[in-house]
Amino acid sequence: MRADVRYGIDDSPVFVIDQSRCIGCEACVQACMECGTHRGQSLIHLERIDRAATTQTAPMVCMHCEDPTCAQVCPADAIKQTEGGIVQSALKPRCIGCSNCVLACPFGVPKYMAEIDQMMKCDMCTDRTSEGLKPMCASVCPSEALWYGTIDEVRENRTGSLLRDFMFGRQEVRTKVYTVVDDLAAGPIDVMRGQAASWLDDPFELESGGT
């Protein structure tokens, strides 16, 4: 991306998370802290899935649901969406700090900030995206696990299928942010079938006595 070629409205840039590319470096966490609208406070979650077993990590930005659960459960009607579908932090005059949104969000995104008695969350760097710039986390991410660009750029440069429909029990959730899975066409994953054998099952061949 060149600075003189910013994304315009017609480009319809999308935000894509590909957890498989994450290297856990926390550049996103550090960069989120530098955002002009909440300087000093990172709103990204970087999860270590099970460090005892794996180096797998997972960055989590707000998925910006079309019908956001956080807003549905807010008793003070403090959580609003922009016309572009960006779910914003709670409005300061309305937020009562009840944390309903924190508990209800299926992706675990909103944070209750006790110091300011307000819920804050990722707004996909509205200050940057409104000017055609990438959000801060997707700008710096060294591995492009967090990525921002056009659908055409996805097709040209990246593998995997884009997914944005989720089922949480009986609740259907469609998100603005895409997640990457290996192959959407393959249908639902049969968790009982197990996976193909991989060296990851036994990296040092301890079980087969190789080393």
């Binding site: 991306m1 060149r2 600075a3 003189d4 498989s20 590319r21 290297i23 856990g24 470096c25 926390e26 550049a27 966490v29 550090q30 960069a31 802290m33 530098e34 002009g36 300087r39 000093g40 406070q41 270590r48 460090r51 005892a52 077993a53 794996t54 180096t55 797998q56 990590t57 990438k134 801060m136 700008s139 710096v140 991410c141 060294p142 591995s143 492009e144 440069n157 990246r158 593998t159 060296w199 990851l200 990296p203 040092f204 061949e205 301890l206 190789g210 080393t211």
Partner: protein, 743 residues
């Protein structure tokens, strides 16, 4: 005497590391920006482009530099937070002299006093013990201009042969191997070649934590369908996605490479045309691996035989491939052997000089590439010339305007300088950009050595742990306080731009050296009034050398987002990819295979020290931590060293995650929390080395070096690991959370 004037705790209390938490004015201050400066990160050899925001002579933030083609705005956490090293409470603002009676152990002195004292001590020591009894140590976080200037300063102003640099602990095994095999020491390819490779093989490089931006290049290769082979004792983050993992035992890499060459030959996965037309000595290399079967190597390396065979097949049958290696295979007493073994695999299969083909080191330090070219190595003159070669000496003498005999001969490498200080042969030391107390092996020995110096002066922006031993501290400049060039790991010469002026009485490093040269009576050799003049002289001095910068101008470097050397005349496009058309840099234009017989590392495990130790870095810290241990958000990410070990080893010695363990080698001991993870070989522990004193991993490492490169063996030690009793808990009694590495 260079013994610290106060205790470590007292010195740390006064000079830090303290934590810079927020930018000038605090997080909530409205950020006013006067200027935005295009420059580069001060840390690793990737040299990512970054824009620094400036207000009132302070760097107040950053903005991604999307235009810069190498990283297109990407940064690691260190790059994001690099700006917080400025406006730091620990910054040395004026010259200081050791004074036990002064609060803090050092008293403020004038520049005149400080420089006169340094000069008088240099004179006294050299008069009494000879010119080489005063040594200089330098570093490659410095620009090309400073590296060049230091080489000239040490030889002509200080008049000592004994100058060396901290790349001795980083890139020298790669450099020596490259020169022996290929006749030139530079990355074989621009990084844009990585996505073109059908096989990407990483050997001894934790890319996710030490070269994070390179990850995106590897992922692009994988998006194209490339296979990824990872050779490492740990399942490092990028290994998670590997098609093949080679869990090599520390210190056995050359056996693995030997077995792969054995397989390439056995299956005739060779590029005979390339070997015949462009190389020498294949037969010697082949003879050396005749008995190195995969079964033999599996026994030595711990890598399953089938995986060795698979690696050989993928590498040998792929049309294109790149092998990227770093400190894991280089920081060994067999570092050069390992590099030559890797290069043999590239030469045997013709994987050089073509798109998506190469065998290359990933240079570690910021200017690790440029800084190893222009003459602050003990055996080197600018343009990567040889200080013992009469023609090379004559060329440089003609540029310097000195008599060729004024240039001293070959000096001794960094670790030997430390050892010569310990033995009393070297009595005085001037250092810049080098914190040997943290970065040298056998830290207890290094401390004894520094204590024995009759005089020690450092040029630095913070008082590092080594600086505690100084008699005179001269406040130098941060990366963002001076301009110049550096050369990234790709071999790309880039422009560093000054964002701010040095604060207080701090001065630009080159100004300090020029002033010292003047007082030493050599001012006529150093007539510079700005940094650009130094670069113009460097161009002439490098001309005709292998690292030829003759055609590079600052204007073109900026306009073209960097230039790849060699660039022998103005208008030359530069040389992004080396060896095109099979042209190598030995006089006959051919590359050279090397026979690499297997030998043992400097120390092997035994009943008393039954566990392998390997050391390295974490993503949020950089080298000896002088800068990164002072930035709060980076410290919070990984506050203290942990001892990574496999659950099998933990169970064997009876500890759980978070329990304190004592790790003991023949050199020293360290007590730290166990971090029990299934991502490391059960016979190996890993400790990161960024911390000083009783948290220094280098208390355990040994002073065994590679016979050619003089690289110490940081990556292989034999240790004993025992429960120390107790666990790490926070002050409120909660358990230390090793998942996050934080309390």
């Amino acid at each position: 005497m260079a013994h610290p004037p106060l205790t470590d705790a007292e010195l740390i209390d006064r000079y830090g590391p303290h934590l810079n938490v927020a930018p000038p004015g605090g997080w909530n201050a409205g950020i006013e920006v006067d200027r935005v400066v295009d420059t580069h990160c001060c840390f690793c050899g990737q040299q990512c482009g970054i824009k620094l925001k400036v207000h009132d002579n302070e760097v107040v933030g950053f903005e991604p530099w999307y235009d810069f083609p190498f990283n297109e705005g990407k940064l690691c956490p260190k790059g994001v937070k690099r700006y917080l090293q400025g406006s730091h409470p620990d910054r040395v603002m004026y010259p200081m002299e050791r004074d036990e009676t002064a609060p803090g152990g050092f008293r403020r002195v004038s520049w005149d006093h400080a420089l006169d004292r340094v000069v008088s001590e240099i004179r006294r020591i050299q008069d009494a013990y000879g010119p080489d009894s005063f040594a200089m140590l330098s570093g490659v976080s410095l620009t090309n201009e400073k590296s060049y200037l230091i080489g000239k300063f040490a030889r002509l102003a200080l008049g000592t042969a004994n100058l060396d640099y901290n790349g001795r602990y980083c890139m020298v095994s790669a450099g020596a191997g490259n020169k022996k095999a290929l006749g030139i020491d530079r990355a074989s390819n621009p990084w844009s070649d990585i996505p073109l490779a059908d096989v990407v093989w990483t050997a001894g490089t934790n890319i996710a934590e030490t070269f994070p931006i390179t990850t995106s290049y590897i992922w692009k290769a994988r998006d194209r369908g490339a296979r990824l082979i990872v050779q490492d004792p740990r399942v490092v983050p990028h290994a998670r996605t590997a098609d093949l993992f080679l869990p090599v035992r520390p210190g056995t890499d050359s056996a693995l490479f030997g077995a792969v060459l054995h397989e390439l030959i056995r299956h005739d996965w060779l590029d005979h045309d390339f070997i015949d037309a462009h190389t020498n000595d294949f037969d010697q290399a082949a003879a050396a691996v005749a008995e190195m079967t995969p079964a033999w190597a599996a026994d030595i390396t711990g890598v399953p035989k089938a995986r060795i065979e698979q690696a050989a097949e993928w590498w040998g049958t792929a049309a294109t491939g790149m092998l990227l290696h770093a400190r894991g295979i280089e920081q060994q007493s067999k570092g050069v052997d390992n590099v030559l073994g890797a290069i043999n695999l590239g030469l045997a299969t013709g994987k050089f000089g073509k798109p998506g083909c190469g065998v290359t080191t990933i240079t570690g330090q910021g200017n690790g590439q440029g800084g190893r070219e222009h003459g602050h190595k003990c055996d080197q003159l600018p343009g990567n010339r040889d200080i013992t070669n009469p023609e090379h000496r004559a060329h440089v003498a003609s540029v310097w305007g000195c008599d060729v005999d004024e240039i001293p001969g070959k000096g001794i490498p960094a670790l030997e300088i430390i050892e010569a200080i310990h033995s009393g042969e070297i009595k005085g030391l001037l250092s810049i950009c080098f914190n040997p107390l943290v970065s040298s092996p056998d830290a207890n020995f290094t401390r004894e050595a520094l204590d024995r110096l009759e005089f020690y002066s450092v040029i630095d922006f913070f008082v590092s742990e080594s600086g505690h031993h100084a008699d005179i501290i001269l406040p130098g400049s941060l990366h963002e306080e001076d301009e110049g060039t550096s050369t990234s790991g790709e071999g790309r010469i880039i422009k560093i731009n000054a964002a701010v002026e040095p604060p207080g009485e701090a001065r630009r490093d080159w100004e300090i050296l020029v002033d010292l040269a003047d007082r030493l009576g050599s001012g006529h050799y150093f007539p510079y009034t700005d940094t650009h003049q130094i670069f113009e002289e460097l161009r002439l001095a490098s001309a005709g050398g292998t690292a030829d910068y003759r055609g590079a101008t600052w204007e073109r470097i900026e306009a073209e987002y960097g230039l790849f050397w060699p660039i022998p005349e103005e208008g030359h496009p530069g040389t992004p990819r080396l060896y095109e058309g099979g042209r190598f840099y030995h006089p006959d234009g051919r590359a050279k295979f090397h026979a690499v017989p297997y030998r043992l590392p400097g120390e092997v495990v035994d009943d008393d020290y039954p566990v392998w130790l390997t050391t390295g870095r974490v993503v949020s810290q950089y080298l000896s931590g002088t800068q990164t241990r002072r930035i709060a958000a980076l410290v919070a990410q990984y506050p203290e060293p942990l001892c990574e070990m496999h659950p099998q080893l933990a169970e064997h010695i009876g500890v759980a995650d978070g329990d304190l363990v004592t790790v003991t080698s023949r050199r020293g001991t360290i007590t730290l929390p166990a971090h029990v993870v299934a991502t490391i070989r059960p016979d190996t522990v890993f400790i990161p080395y960024h911390w000083p004193g009783d948290k220094a991993a280098n208390q355990l490492t040994q002073r065994v070096v590679d016979p050619t490169s003089k690289m110490p063996e940081f990556k292989v030690s034999a240790v004993r690991v025992e429960p120390a009793g107790g666990r790490v808990t926070t002050t409120d009694g909660r358990d230390f959370d090793l998942q996050d590495g934080t309390t």
